[in-house]
Symmetry: D2
Subunit: 169 residues, 4 copies
Amino acid sequence: MRNIIIGVMGPGENASSEDLKNAYELGQIIAINNWVLLTGGRASGVMDAASRGAKQAGGLTVGILPSTNSQASEAVDIAIVTDLGQARNNINVLSSDVVIACGMGLGTASEVALALKNQKSVILLTTDSISYQFFRSYARDQLFQATTPQETIQLTHKILARLSLFETI
Amino acid sequence: MRNIIIGVMGPGENASSEDLKNAYELGQIIAINNWVLLTGGRASGVMDAASRGAKQAGGLTVGILPSTNSQASEAVDIAIVTDLGQARNNINVLSSDVVIACGMGLGTASEVALALKNQKSVILLTTDSISYQFFRSYARDQLFQATTPQETIQLTHKILARLSLFETI
Amino acid sequence: MRNIIIGVMGPGENASSEDLKNAYELGQIIAINNWVLLTGGRASGVMDAASRGAKQAGGLTVGILPSTNSQASEAVDIAIVTDLGQARNNINVLSSDVVIACGMGLGTASEVALALKNQKSVILLTTDSISYQFFRSYARDQLFQATTPQETIQLTHKILARLSLFETI
Amino acid sequence: MRNIIIGVMGPGENASSEDLKNAYELGQIIAINNWVLLTGGRASGVMDAASRGAKQAGGLTVGILPSTNSQASEAVDIAIVTDLGQARNNINVLSSDVVIACGMGLGTASEVALALKNQKSVILLTTDSISYQFFRSYARDQLFQATTPQETIQLTHKILARLSLFETI
């Protein structure tokens, strides 16, 4: 029985305090749901905060590191070292059953675009309306917006239920 | 003396007729300037049109193919087979001195985001204001917008002059 | 406290019955040592057998899949989908603290070469003398040979002790 | 009409003087045959020598660079920047119609293994019998050995003729 993997993407160095707070809570609730948390793995920003939240709640955390020199978050249990630079962003989204963008930035934007391109469902946890408007032009059905971690996880449950429905049919 | 490489990115299957016309003209002018054209290489949409334009004008064309099964544009001289899927988008932008987005879509959005993330200069050839507004939030200095192929190439000349200035200092 | 990851590489479709038996036992002993097992993830050959052995013994298994179409072994807990084809072999070895080659083939040979190139320690579990002779020409200190799963795990313990020594100094 | 691409792989820092002499001559003859030379692109060893030979004879050279920091050979016309580390080795061989290993080392061994795994024809230009013996165990039909650049190019012609035969049928 394969583990369900929830990817949390978001800014590293430029994360806002709101993003960090949301990421920590997302990590906690993901762990409580017995899902595996997947992030970009570095000891920075949303990746680090989500991993810490998940560890605090007893979860399992996977980090997909860009480089052999990347410093991994201490809260990452399983470090996958890709040495692919930003090309590892495609692995982040392909390996996630649901992709959550917690905040926005250039790396995160590439992940949202790659996820939607690969028919993955994406939830934007943000109050910024432009990013939602931009991505919605290219992928209506798989793109969702939420304003709190709780709402994000409710949407995650719905998406997983829909995915599981497709698999059983 | 390394060749100057200009990357033209844009939709494959969903390119508009305006995008295709612009891509063909971009390819032509790139060739006339003795720059190498780099695209995603497939026999589809903007990649194909830009490559055809460049060949018509006697230029050299490089195509960075996503898969061993991808059908390459007949107008690609040098086919680089990556077998990386969408992760090859990062190579497209890292190998280009200037990145031109001719039209917009999910793959193109990932390329614009990755290019800006890697400090590459990007020109959006589009009348769509949302994409410019979205990316401008994250990278003002390196992002440009143009409405015609001619204007795009004028901007390309300015960017190359600036890059060359940095190298000689 | 990051998990220790032991990579078991080996033939998929062309694995011998000896390779499969060894892989299963390796998986079991790796799990018993509380190490995470990492393989190429597919439902085939050494990857599958090692993962099954580890699951039987209650371990945690990670599979680094080459393609979005790859069928994952049922015994893989955490499936990392790379869509990189054989380029994912570099991730397999970079993510492993110790690399074990259980049997030999072309994919496995690329992994042994990439692991040694990246200064990873590699154990060849094989009675074939040519592969050892070949790789020994290029990397004496990090290359080991074993003839049984038990001997392989003893060597793994020694290598991990040496790595941990380097980290504490 | 796609260009024929001949890949020359071989040691960087540890190339022997014999390897460097052979690589330079290979580059020259590849250019004289109007084939495009593809190498790993760095300003080092066999990559650099082959590129210099090809440029001296007026050829076109492509270099597939591992990192954004890699110093490219001055004799590389078209630099493809992958930022994939050693995972770029798979691109080197997938993009070549024929793969020539000029000398041997760990990176080169990974390229020979990946090339054969991908059904590419490989010529080992070496007097070392172990590497030929090792790889021959896994891929008889596509592996060739030569002792001089001239013999290597004769084999290249035969392989290309065979490939072209398959395509026309």
